[in-house]
């Protein structure tokens, strides 16, 4: 008979039991990992590229670095060579680790496609053991390849040009390589659980490849600037994304999700119908509601459900305000720039030039706000909401920077804040609500409700966001634009004009 976790009689209570259970779980994880790794090394399609990337490529990189260095020295451009060598250290580490994505997709969805997953799912393994086993098996071989590649490269550059990396940089590169591999594997698990064929998984993998390629470009930029301290921020960011992806992966890597999905069928029309139905939030006829009741339940009620997201956003916006204030002390604007002759007229002229007058101006402001929020919402979906928060923080930081400068220039505080009233009262709350809806869209994929699939949860969140946008955000943004065109210039003129 199959053996289950050690009982309390076998292990005793307290920390000893905890350790026993942990080791027992780990031994089960390793069973999966061992088999997968051995199986992987029987596949020449994995072995050959891994060998090339771990041994041959670092050798070529090393040789290339040496040649490049001597060529650059002829033109007194040693600096480029100096920056190139650590950059190549990062590259030789990343190339083999990038294989983890392919291995993970093959390991999870390949097994699903070959139908060899079900016998494994029918064993007494828990979902977490299976997830960890497969995650480790997809990470260990490419990561080992990265370490070998880094070692080969370092050995080579040390012998040829006597270069060794500073220990902190080496630690940063090792951490970045490991985290990138883990992020790709964790992302691949999520992608795999949503697809039933390797083909579909490869297409969906662009959700991992594209952000990862941006990240590598940014890292390359930092490496060439030799501003290595910034790499710590990349490490922290990757660690956060990894935690989110693992959280999401643990949820999606369940037997139910893996076997419940038989087809990658996507019916656009049906999905659109469901979206409209969910957005309208109509209930059966026997529960007919008045318009106000519907608005209260389905718009204000949903906004109330976003309270946690709104709190997160407000904290982030508060932080942005603080950052803007801090930078106002660092970069000062000459006070005389705020005391212009004939300010009111000049302000009006500028508004005219920008087209910010009349109904055209209203549409322009609403259009701009909608465009920014739409882009931010889209980015939220791909970044668990993180990029959207950053985008929304930027104008707040800029506003706070300007307000602090204005106050520093001796402009009446009441007047300064009066100019901000339409933003504070109307625009910012609307943006916070829209941002919270987008944050929910990005975050719901991390932890969908247990009784719903990822797709159902996301569609529900999209419908909520659409309803809130149409019935709350857009009218308020419109009102804000009307105020900004018709009232704000007068307030600005009133307070700043006489100066």
């Amino acid at each position: 008979m199959a053996m289950l976790a050690p009982s309390i009689e076998q292990t005793g209570a307290g920390p000893r039991r905890w350790l026993h259970v942990l080791l027992w779980n780990f031994s089960r994880v390793l069973m999966i990992t061992r088999r997968e790794v051995v199986d992987m090394f029987r596949d020449w399609r994995i072995v050959v590229p891994t060998l090339i990337l771990t041994v041959l490529f670092p050798y070529i990189a090393n040789w290339g670095a040496g040649r490049m260095l001597s060529w650059l020295n002829q033109y007194d451009a040693q600096l480029i060579g100096e920056r190139l060598i650590p950059f190549l250290l990062m590259v030789v580490g990343f190339f083999p680790s990038s294989f983890s994505l392919i291995i993970a997709l093959e390991s999870f969805v390949g097994e699903k496609e070959r139908r060899s997953l079900e016998p494994l799912l029918a064993t007494p393994l828990t979902d977490a053991q299976l997830y960890m086993g497969k995650m480790l098996s997809s990470t260990i071989p490419p990561l080992s390849g990265s370490l070998v590649g880094i070692a080969v490269y370092l050995f080579g550059v040390n012998r040829s040009i006597n270069w060794s990396p500073p220990p902190v940089l080496l630690i940063q590169i090792l951490l970045l390589t490991a985290l990138q591999a883990l992020v790709m594997v964790a992302g691949a698990v999520v992608v795999s659980s949503q697809s039933t064929s390797v083909r579909a998984a490869n297409l969906l993998a662009s959700f991992i490849i594209i952000p990862m390629s941006f990240l590598i470009q940014a890292e390359a930029f930092i490496m060439f600037l030799a501003n290595y301290y910034v790499l710590w921020w990349f490490i922290i960011g990757l660690a956060v994304v990894l935690a989110l992806l693992v959280r999401m992966g643990v949820h999606t890597f369940s037997r139910e999700e893996l076997l419940g999905r038989e087809l990658d069928e996507f019916n656009l029309l049906e999905t659109a119908k469901s979206w409209v139905k969910l957005t309208l939030a109509r209930r059966p006829k026997e529960q007919r509601r008045t318009v106000w009741r519907w608005y209260r339940d389905e718009v204000l009620g949903v906004i109330w459900r976003f309270r946690l997201e709104m709190l997160v956003l407000m904290i982030a916006l508060g932080a942005a305000y603080y950052i803007g204030m801090q930078y106002a002390d660092v970069f000062r604007i000459p006070p005389e720039l705020f005391h212009l002759q004939n300010f009111e007229q000049r302000f009006q002229d500028s508004m005219e030039q920008l087209g910010l007058s009349g109904s055209k101006g209203i549409l322009l402001i609403v259009g701009q706000n909608v465009r920014v929020m739409a882009v931010a919402s889209l980015l939220a979906v791909f970044s668990f909401g993180v990029l959207m928060v950053i985008i929304l923080m930027v104008p707040i930081a800029l506003s706070s920077f300007l307000v602090t400068q204005m106050l520093g220039a001796g402009i009446d505080p009441l007047g300064t804040f009066a100019t901000l009233i339409p933003h504070i009262v109307l625009e910012i709350p609307a943006v916070v609500v829209a941002g919270a809806a987008a944050l929910r869209l990005g975050a719901i994929v991390i932890s969908p409700p247990p009784d719903k699939t990822l797709g159902q949860s996301w569609l529900g969140a999209l419908a909520d966001a659409t309803r809130v946008w149409l019935a709350f955000v857009l009218p308020i943004l419109l009102l804000a634009a009307i105020v900004e065109i018709n009232v704000t210039p007068r307030i600005v003129g009133w307070f700043l004009g006489p100066g």
């Binding site: 008979m1 199959a2 089960r28 069973m31 070959r114 029918a122 064993t123 037997r255 419940g260």
Partner: protein
């Protein structure tokens, strides 16, 4: 050993299994018959704690499929619809791997792998890679895998499909033997003669619902009427039908044969023989008309279609 109550599974609004109530005892073989997509595999997956029921409950070997999934899987051996073997592995490695996952120690892994492969004629191929195995060999190895940890409950999906007649016989004998050991077996199959041969009870599932459940005899009686008996005489019937009218009602007849139905052949048949012999007539044969499970199955499906 297996108890389900109102077991139901829905996928995105599609009802795959609905209100299945089953009770399978230890030492019993239940055949689950049904067309493709009827809900057999989903039922098996719920009984293995791979899928969670949307509604209803199920207990396997005394464990709840939702609350105690690991315990359930530890007590169940599953032969899945697709064997899903790792083709680059050797059969020995494969079986040791699954043995280890099921918690068998090394000596037990070795012993069980050799015992079972010998039983199914695979011992000589234990060190061959699974990619080199024929379809039938793969099927047998998957069956061996499901039996490795000696589970009290076996859920077998098409256990003899793709097998040659000799291998299929080996598997059927093994199933009969396992039943004798007191194991509970659920057999999902399209092979009606096999179900007829092995199953103590038969459940016919269609569109996710059990539409017929009972022993072979019960189903045949219920759907095809009482057993049909055929009597063949050496000469023409000449007054035989009238002579037997107080014992049986003749359903059909020819020059020298007749058919009748009875629920108690052990009582009625000797009376019929006695009456015929006392008339001085000679009997060539007296026996049940063979009615296949296929007839039952088709009848059930047709009547379900008519609903």
């Amino acid at each position: 050993m297996i108890e389900t109550h109102d077991l139901t599974k829905q996928f995105d609004g599609f009802v795959a299994v609905e209100g299945v109530n089953l009770n399978v005892e230890a030492g019993e073989v239940l055949a689950l018959l049904g067309p493709n997509g009827a809900g057999k595999t989903t039922t098996v997956r719920m009984l293995t704690s791979i899928l969670k029921p949307t509604r209803g409950t199920a207990r396997v070997a005394g464990y709840d499929v939702v609350a105690q999934p690991e315990q359930v899987r530890a007590h169940v051996g599953v032969l899945t619809e697709n064997h899903g073997l790792y083709l680059r592995m050797k059969a020995r490695e494969y079986l040791y791997f699954f043995g280890e996952l099921c918690g068998l120690d090394k000596p037990a892994q070795h012993r069980r792998a050799e015992e079972l492969t010998e039983r199914f004629g695979l011992l000589g191929a234990l060190d061959r890679r699974l990619g080199e195995y024929s379809k039938g060999m793969r099927q047998k190895l998957a069956l061996v895998r499901s039996m490795l940890h000696d589970p009290p409950v076996l859920l077998l999906d098409e256990p003899t499909s793709a097998m040659d007649p000799f291998s299929a016989r080996q598997v059927r004998d093994a199933i009969a033997e396992l039943r004798g050991d007191g194991r509970t077996i659920v057999l999902c199959t399209h092979n009606l003669p096999e179900a007829e041969e092995l199953a103590d009870r038969i459940a016919i599932i269609r569109r996710g619902k059990i539409i017929a459940l009972g022993t072979e005899l019960e189903l045949k009686s219920e759907l095809l009427g009482p057993p049909l008996i055929e009597l063949q005489l050496a000469q023409n019937l000449d007054g035989v039908v009238e002579n037997l009218s107080d014992i049986v009602q003749v359903e059909s007849q020819g020059d020298a044969w007749l058919c009748y139905r009875t629920m108690q052949p052990e009582i009625v048949n000797p009376q019929v023989v006695q009456r015929i012999v006392s008339q001085g007539m000679q009997i060539i044969s007296l026996g049940r008309v063979v009615r296949s499970l296929e007839e039952v199955y088709l009848r059930v499906v047709e009547s379900d279609d008519a609903l």
